[in-house]
Symmetry: C2
Subunit: 755 residues, 2 copies
């Protein structure tokens, strides 16, 4: 039952489990989050939000609010530069910029309940709140549409006059809510289905769910009178905040400094900006630093959840169990502005399988809900739920073991995905094998209303730019500076890669997450890129240190730098075993032999390897209440190389638990008018430790040849399999096939015909 790592120990540091560098600060409450931050003379900001899901804004009168004693400034969309102005792109760029800008402060229309309309800065939060009530907004309320299928119908209320994509994905003449259509195809679909002996076709729906990070969004802005802007905030990417604020305010990146505070969870939801441009604008207006912090209701209503989806999947297989064809149509709710993760969902949907003929259709559809944001393997959980349910039903119909069926059809090196790419070395089959070999799979599950389900999942992972610098301390330790926000233990996993190169212990590498002025450009922490790409930068920066240290040794010993060796923490000279100097000894001599040593690296690696996972779930369904109890849950996942297995396990467990939340509990309850009815953690029910068994983990390590230590990303894929694994388990427990998330007690009873 213990967590298990299928790992070959090839390294000294990589693969071990040191205490994370920021651990004590975090568990003792010392770590400084955005909410802890304050500046002398700071004002407090509050945001006025639309009470309507869809309404034209006829006028905004802020005069009474501005006149309230203690109020220092009010901003509306009029304070934002228009996308057409200044340095913005023209054409598509300007449109996207307008969407970006309008989501910060609504200009002509409010497009969801909770849409920001104005913001106030005052001497305290209560005054700011009181001022909100004094802002008079004249709304013309419009009919709202809050469901993707409704939004795609003819005659649906239209959010944006500028969107004209028809159902074929062509630019039409009539406004629609379809922002874009994406299509992938491989082989000849008809031929594939013709070869099939069994075909299953089903429709699925998933709900709008939120990442549910503990820490609400916050931002403090300071616009100095020389035009330098500083923003302290909770974000997954300080440079992303810098880029977005720069675009929204049409202001040079070099005049914006973003200081990433500690982050209390993000899961993709903190890769965008909400309060940051407002904090900057209010500071510019008032001449003071301004701090804004959201309430939980604002987080639910005003920030990006994951898209709800409406999906149709059809798959065929031969009697022998060979998948022959797959077809899918995925329609995702982008929320108020274009940009759901439907593309990524399409890419991941059938990726675990080698299928000759396939076709995938994706629709990005706007509805009167908050603009969707990324949420762990964005899009893949939705499509994975649909595909893995159908795969399960096929296995069932064919009378095949669900793991064996998946293994028979597993993607492997050389398999071409329906969306195009050909796999390199992947661990899809290895995960299935490990799942089959697991204690969980071989254990017996008995008793009434109990069932075991299995499902696989895929996430492609990403690379992108990262920077790192490393400086050597006189005591033989090093300081490492990186630009990657640490949301899952990456200070440790990055420091460990540097330590491995330098033959140091993990705790001898001291990592710092720096602000945007103090480290090279580094992309957002997300997409499962950080341990991979920033880790690579650390690897290269460590080698840059070693190169310089070898040169120094050569100088001290009057040797040829090319002859200097470094092994097991000791510098030597080829052919002269007497010449030896430990890293620590040389570190202590640097200042007297030519100066300190700093290594640097910037990378943009392309060799990210995709990640696969297979989950096994045992459930018991209470036939009286419809409540699903998770009895046992095992996640098997290919980490490539688990740099710090504990944090890989943590990602696997956390992802699985979030997936279980999607599966069984979580959803935005929307009124027909478009108001979310459950905007607190009391009513929006996320699973807690009391609801769950220990999530068991099996780490598989199929080294990624595209990374020096074989690392793949691990953070995304564990959220993908749970909904299908649980749906498949419920099917086996009580005979019903759930096709809609969440599989709440009421939904299950309804499906069982009990109510």
């Amino acid at each position: 039952m213990a967590n298990k790592v299928l790992v070959r120990q090839e390294f000294k540091v990589v693969g071990t489990r040191p205490i994370r560098h920021d651990g004590t600060d975090k568990v003792t409450g010392r770590a400084l989050y955005g909410g802890d931050f304050s500046l002398p003379g700071m004002l407090y900001g509050k945001v006025l939000r639309s009470p309507h899901a869809h309404a034209r804004i006829l006028s905004i009168d802020t005069s009474a609010a501005e006149a309230l004693p203690g109020v220092r400034g009010v901003v509306t969309a009029k304070d934002l530069p228009r996308p057409e102005e200044g340095i913005a792109d023209v054409g598509e760029g300007a449109v996207n910029l307008r969407f970006l800008s309008d989501n910060i402060l609504a200009s002509n229309k409010a497009l969801y309940k909770g849409h920001a309309v104005a913001a106030v800065a005052a001497v305290d939060a209560h005054t700011a709140e009181a001022a909100l009530a004094l802002i008079k907004v004249d709304y013309q309320v419009l009919p709202a549409v809050v469901n993707v299928r409704e939004a795609m119908k003819e005659g649906a209320p239209i959010l944006h006059e500028s969107l004209r994509t028809d159902a074929q994905g062509q630019k039409g003449t009539t406004p629609t809510n379809i922002a874009s259509r994406i299509q992938f195809a491989k082989g000849t679909l008809e031929q594939g289905f013709a070869q099939a002996d069994v075909v299953v076709e089903r429709e699925f729906e998933t709900a709008t769910v939120h990442q549910g990070y503990i820490e609400p969004h916050n931002a403090t802005g300071l616009w100095s009178s020389d035009g330098q802007v500083t923003i302290w905030c909770s974000t997954q990417g300080a440079f992303t905040v810098r880029d977005l604020v720069s675009q929204i305010l049409r202001y040079p990146v070099s005049k914006i400094k973003v200081v990433p505070m500690e982050i209390g969870g993000g899961f993709g939801g903190k890769t965008v900006v909400y309060l940051e441009p407002l904090a900057a604008l209010l500071s510019r207006k008032t001449g003071k630093p301004v701090k804004l912090v959201m309430t939980r209701t604002e987080v639910f209503e005003g920030t990006g959840p994951t898209p709800a989806a409406s999906m149709k999947v059809k798959m065929g297989a031969t009697r022998e169990g060979k998948l022959t064809a797959a077809e899918a149509s995925f329609a995702f709710e982008a929320g108020a502005y274009p940009g759901s993760a439907v593309g990524a969902g399409c890419m991941c949907a059938f990726a675990p399988y080698d299928i000759e003929h396939g076709k995938i259709d994706g629709y990005d559809v706007v509805v009167n809900k908050p603009k969707a944001a990324a949420y762990r393997a964005p899009g893949a959980t939705q499509t994975g739920f649909a595909v893995e349910s159908v795969v399960d039903e096929l296995a069932e119909k064919l009378g095949l073991d669900p793991i064996a069926f998946r293994m028979k059809n597993s993607a492997r090196e050389g398999t071409r995905r329906i969306d195009g790419p050909i796999f390199g070395v992947i661990g899809a089959l290895d995960c299935l094998e490990a799942a089959r070999a697991s204690d969980h799979w071989s254990s017996r599950l008995e008793g009434p209303n109990r069932g075991r389900g299995v499902a696989s999942g895929f996430w492609f992972n990403i690379g992108l730019q990262s920077s790192c610098t490393i400086s050597v301390n006189a005591d033989g330790t090093v300081n490492l500076v990186e630009g990657s926000a640490d949301i899952g233990g990456t200070r440790a996993s990055i420091a460990m890669q540097a330590a491995e190169v330098l033959c140091l212990r993990a705790e001898e590498v001291k990592p710092t997450v720096a602000d945007t002025d103090s480290i090279g450009y580094t992309q957002v922490t997300g997409g499962s890129r950080t341990t991979f790409a920033t880790g690579w930068a650390a690897y290269e920066a460590a080698h840059d240190v070693l190169r310089q240290m070898k040169e120094r040794v050569a100088k001290i010993w009057e040797a040829n730098p090319a002859d200097v060796t470094y092994e097991e923490g000791v510098f030597g000279v080829k052919g002269d075993p007497k010449m030896q100097m430990a890293f620590r000894e040389l570190a202590g001599k640097l200042n007297h032999t030519g100066g300190p040593i700093v290594g640097r690296a910037t990378v943009d690696p392309k060799g990210q390897g995709g990640a696969f996972a297979t989950h096994i779930a045992d459930v018991e369904v209470d036939p009286e209440t419809g409540k699903v109890k998770v009895l046992r849950y095992t996640t098997v996942q290919d980490a490539g190389k688990a740099v710090h297995p504990s944090y890989v396990e943590g990602q696997m467990q956390g992802g699985a638990v979030q997936g279980i939340g999607w599966a069984l509990n979580e959803e935005y309850f929307m009124t027909p008018g478009g108001t979310m009815a459950n905007t607190s953690f009391l009513d929006y029910r996320m699973p807690t430790t009391l609801d769950l068994p220990m999530i068991e983990t099996v780490i598989v390590e199929v080294a990624n040849p595209g990374h020096p230590f074989g690392v793949r990303g691990v953070g995304e894929v564990p959220i993908v399999p749970p909904p299908a694994a649980l749906a498949n388990a419920i099917r086996r427990a009580v005979g019903v096939r759930m096709t809609r998330l969440p599989m709440s007690p009421g939904a299950i009873l309804k499906e069982m015909g009990t109510v």
Copy 2:
């Protein structure tokens, strides 16, 4: 009368006068100093100080203080590791470490009034202060000695039993107050004096004076439960604080992070630690962050002023005006522990002159005053006052023009100093020439009781280690990270050197002074090294950026990197004039062509060039009151290359004004018992703008061949000439030769025989 720069404009950015990057923050009060810093749950610390200048500490009872409600912790010397313990050196090292440690918290003896004896952390400053009164210290009061000559006498009260240096500088058997003796000699002194037609021998004294920075010392410490220590403080060198705290607490440098806040003046006085180890210790004891801020009285009584000195100088010259011999004995007050700047004073004393025969004796003597610290050209102002007074008297006796006499004997390239080094390219003669050619020198000074004086000065400047990283922003600007505290505009002067290399404007380089975890080792800002050495690091880091950008251009164009050129901000390829890409354009492409670019450099340059200055002062002495009015004052100084002439002028003016303060007003009035009687800025009289004329500046530029832009240090030398220049002017005004600083109204009247 305007400020004048004798400068050949060879560069685009170096030599211009852009607005400093931190200017707006500083003039609008936005810049964050240590006093502005706070943390949640922070405690406030106060220091109990000895009321006696010399006393044995028999016992300390802190129990009543600890019992006071609101008090969270009390520390005494018992909480400091003993120098003999742990990782400390043995022998001399342990002795020095004990001195270092004892100055933070007195162990067996209090050695000056104001010596820290205990420190308290409490919930607020008032409670902490109240607690100090409850600490019972049982003192055995000992006789004090507060004057260097008294301290050297036989039978003087002895501060340290371990000091045994006799008057010959040998290790003796009887305890003395002489910590060390330093000696330099050149040629044969007797022969030199035998050649002389005129010999002048005089004794001089200078007072204890304080740097008088506006911002008092402050430090906030946080000792986390995982052993990581963070210190926010006002310092000239974050790495110096890290090193010293590491030594005092016997704690690894890598577990200490020092965050340099803005600094409100240092002038050498913030190159050491006082509160920093206490803040760390109190935080360790209480588990909370602890902040300490000194009062002005604490700054005067508890931190390092410049040493008072007792000096004898004898010089001889031929009838023709050729200096033949120089002999000096300098005794400096180190304060309570060894380490005055007498060595540097010896090195600078006769440096402006080429003298064949010389001998210099220096004595470092402990007295019951605060341990001396560096103060702008430490030691050189004292010895310069003595030497330049004697030089002036020789010129007077020989009937020679004081500038002509100095020019005749001026040091030049190839001159060997009495302390050994041979000068490279220097501007000693050039400064004298520029002074002679100045408007001031050629103007007439008429009227009774008026006189004009001239004096030269020297400071050797230093190099030492510095680090710098530079990252390129997508908008074609760069961010520069450095470890040098900015006390005089060095953000600008360092950024400008990077801008020059990169063909950017100064404002397109955005400098950040980082904490010790975030930048490579960088030595203290002091000794006039920062623009020289950290500027050099910036120069190298900029070249590292260019190298990588050229490689990128080569990659984009498929060209040979060696063929890529960079001129006037545009990359090109040799032999193909059509291939052109501006820096800004390439910067925007970096993320899509291989990733971001970061440059780094670490340096330890040895090519620092010495700095010379010649000052001219016109004074009028009120024969009734003895008050000296400075009518006109001109500073001429060799900057090598003035990177930012305004800040060079600022250094020249600021240094001159401080020197004028030493000359005319400033001194610690000590009671015989060793108490400073004037511990406020009301009673310790520093010159203000109302006391002074505009200080005129003439920048001479004799490029230093040891630096890429010819930079020398500029911050130190301007404090050296004023006391002698004013003494020489007073001599010409009213006929008296003042040999003791300050030349206060009372002292002048006494010398004039009026009182």
